[in-house]
Symmetry: C2
């Protein structure tokens, strides 16, 4: 090991310690910190974030990265370290181009817009949020001018969340999906079923916690390398492959929410737990591609979790842990977890109409950044698209354009990741069937572990070292296509809804 490489390792180690406590502060604020204690945690978070940012943009780091990547030494590095040095060099150059003033303004505006958004949503008044949104749009545009000079703004944003993806590709995928789904959803909604009141009875939150633990363990989330916390909005975070945290919420009159959140976050968690541990605490670990990440959470949640056969080996156990399920047949359960509704709220949507919630947001983001549509015209555009895709109109902004917080913190370009994940899932399902055989049968026989092992080996192991398109090409042997997902929906819902 050269002296330079050793120095670099020590530097990384120090940065990792900062990352580690920043992650921990965030986790604790969401799961354990009492109201009055938030301030102390924020002070610590601010302190260590500043230290970390200083280290990640220091001249010393720049010199080390240049030294390592531009000398003969580079060729002597392992492939993993070659990846790490190249990736860090790119991130470093990108970060260095952002003027410190702009960065600070952006961070401050994010915090401010978050507060305003919350108030606007509460009052269901978009006009309150409009100035903040305008500011976040302008600042985001300015930022990408530095991070991705010469690149079209929205493509730069898409690339930040799902590297290698651009709007030309996504246009093709989403348009293909629309062609299939618009008539399919119309047909399904024509056979709308009534709500099943059995699912709105009382479901003991403690029983829900036990069901969650049972399901996490069943799908392969390892308890020796993971734990669970409680938060209003479920999420997954990780310190390394050895310490992955998921969270959940428990609604007394909606047991399906915690059940499918557990499976969804469990899918994210299984991804992180199974990345090559050599990548721990480096940019090679912890998958940074949001679409690819969502493909795993949504594979477990939808492709597996909304398959009737998934439930056969565990349905009795579900009834033992949450007795009201004893009164619900597996058939009724299956109908309910695949009940298609034209509802207004993305996070409550079924897997089919969910696609439209994302397509709508994607088209609006393009309108914002490409067509430069004025902010005050956005609610009308939202409502028009909602009517077009789902034949409903929000009664107010809170259940329309104000429902998600993403735009308040400038996460433009993030939404498409969710649907890209599902599109990958259609392809992965084809491939699993090809390589492991009948998925229904595997699930029915409690052999889900074989599917998890396949995903571990084919996808998870690589962490961030393979970009999404490369992963799909390597695993599925073809380019990304929406056809398998559309076919999956068509087959599944034709049966469930007895369609033509």
């Amino acid at each position: 090991m050269s002296k330079l490489f050793e120095e670099f390792q020590n530097y990384l180690n120090q940065m990792n310690q900062y990352d580690h406590v920043i992650t921990l502060l965030y986790w604790d604020m969401k799961t354990n910190t009492p109201k009055l204690g938030q301030e102390g945690h924020v002070a610590a978070l601010t302190h260590f974030s500043a230290e970390n940012f200083a280290m990640s943009t220091s001249d010393q780091l720049g010199e080390m990265l240049t030294g390592l990547s531009e000398s003969a030494e580079f060729e002597e590095l392992t492939d993993t370290w070659k990846f790490i040095v190249k990736r860090m060099k790119r991130d470093y150059d990108r970060n260095k181009r952002i003027p410190a003033d702009l960065y600070n303004t952006f961070v401050e505006a994010q915090a401010q817009a978050g507060i305003v958004w919350e108030e606007a949503k509460e009052k269901s008044d978009f006009s309150l949020f409009a100035p903040s949104l305008r500011k976040m749009i302008d600042l985001t545009r300015e930022m990408t001018g530095y991070t991705d000079p010469g690149k079209e703004v929205y493509d730069a944003l898409l690339d930040q969340y799902e590297e290698g993806m651009d709007s030309a590709t996504i246009d093709g995928l989403f348009e293909a999906l629309k062609r299939e789904l618009i008539p399919l959803v119309k047909e399904i909604l024509g056979k709308q079923k009534p709500d099943n009141p059995a699912f709105s009875g009382f479901f003991d939150p403690n029983g829900q916690r036990q069901v969650q633990d049972m399901l996490l363990s069943y799908i392969g989330f390892r308890k020796d390398a993971g734990s669970v916390g409680e938060t209003e909005h479920p999420f997954t975070l990780n310190f390394s492959s050895k310490d992955v945290r998921v969270t959940n919420h428990y609604y007394e009159h909606d047991p399906l929410s915690s059940i499918f959140s557990a499976i969804h976050e469990g899918g994210h968690g299984i991804f992180e737990q199974n990345i090559n541990p050599e990548y721990d605490n480096t940019v090679a670990g912890s998958c940074r591609y949001m679409g690819l990440h969502e493909s795993q959470s949504r594979f477990y949640e939808n492709i597996l979790g909304r398959n009737k056969n998934f439930w056969i080996p565990v349905y009795d156990r579900l009834g033992e842990l949450l007795p009201p399920f004893k009164e619900i047949s597996l058939d009724d359960f299956y109908q309910e977890i695949n009940h298609v509704r034209n509802s207004l709220i993305r996070v409550n949507a079924d897997e089919v109409t969910y696609c439209f919630h994302i397509i709508l947001r994607y088209e609006m983001e393009k309108a914002i950044f490409r067509d430069q549509i004025p902010v005050n015209e956005l609610p009308a555009l939202w409502n028009q698209k909602m009517q077009e895709y789902l034949q409903i109109t929000p009664a107010n902004d809170a259940e329309g354009i104000l429902q998600d917080m993403h735009w308040s913190d400038g996460s433009f370009g993030y939404f498409p990741s969710y649907l890209l994940g599902s599109i990958y899932d259609g392809m992965l399902l084809d491939k699993v069937r090809e390589e492991l055989g009948d998925v229904d049968e595997l699930l029915r026989n409690g052999r889900i572990g074989e599917i998890t092992a396949w995903l571990n080996k084919k996808i998870h192991w690589y962490g961030s070292t393979r970009k999404p398109k490369e992963t799909i090409a390597a695993v599925c042997g073809r380019e990304v296509s929406a056809e398998p997902l559309a076919r999956y929906f068509k087959e599944k819902y034709t049966e469930i809804y007895h369609l033509g």
Copy 2:
């Protein structure tokens, strides 16, 4: 504010951030970290502890403290800052005298002895632990030679945990207590009652959690400035008065353990939550006197929590949350929570025989440091004293001398704090009665809040700014005496056990 004072404040702020994440890492390791994640947390803990130690012994800090305490500027400081500067100067001088080599050897030996102790306890074999114990005794002796030069070793140790206390004072207190308690306990044990099987049925852990929350809130532990975690060994820690964490365990067949742990840790927590918030994040805050701290946890647990009247306003609620209690009368409950047994394990002991568990350890620590009794003779001495005080002999070392971990990490001199706490409690009870009236009546009428408010005002508010003896003198107007505690025991147990 002078430039020097400002520089000092910035320096303190940086040290506080390290303290903050060290506390958080510790909390998370005990409550949330999965097995495989411990290693990553230990690495971060080691990193930030080293940074913190370097800051707390730096020449820069030394110069600032000298500058502030020895210049005319000192007189311009507020009383709080005078205290902080003086206290930090003393701690600094003390730490600086410890040779770095010795400090590192000590920390390493602590970790090593902890592992060996655990194994020795598991195998119930003192001879395995003896060499580590000998080493910890030698190192502790060597350390106090630096921290407290010229001071008798055991007195120096006592002073570290309960400043201002020495063995001459404690001898007097404990001997007085022994004179009263030896005959009292013999008399009680002569009327030994059978175990009540109702308390070993099944008590739902989730119900126990709800009871805990109800009790914490009832005694005044504030949820907006506190939270609860789950650990095998309950403890309390705090970031500031605004963020205090307690933990608990839940045994399915022993509901009283979680109930009284909740009240005990709640007492510690109420202390920390009610310290003058101006002292937050300084040595003036967070009470560093272990005896005084225990006096508060034990006041809630024993003086209040084991009084029948405490339960009158909440006993119905207890039965609602944990239905088996509906089948147990309040009288039977009261008998059980004050059931005196000559048992072997300190942490399971009732409030009366608990005294002997501490006196025994105190006398052994004196034998170790003053009489220099050889380590291999300690088990025999333990068993002899156990026989003398409680007329029982441990069947093995695990339930004898190996039961507590304190000696493995060199916490010699800590044990007496527990009993000093109870001795203070006897005095505080007298004073509460004098100033607030009949405690039984206050409790019976659900007016426990008045007692909490009294303790807040008389004790908690001062944090670490008043030493224990000063606190007792200020609140009780007299020197520390064991007489009130002995009287409390005598009156209470004469009634419960219908003694002569």
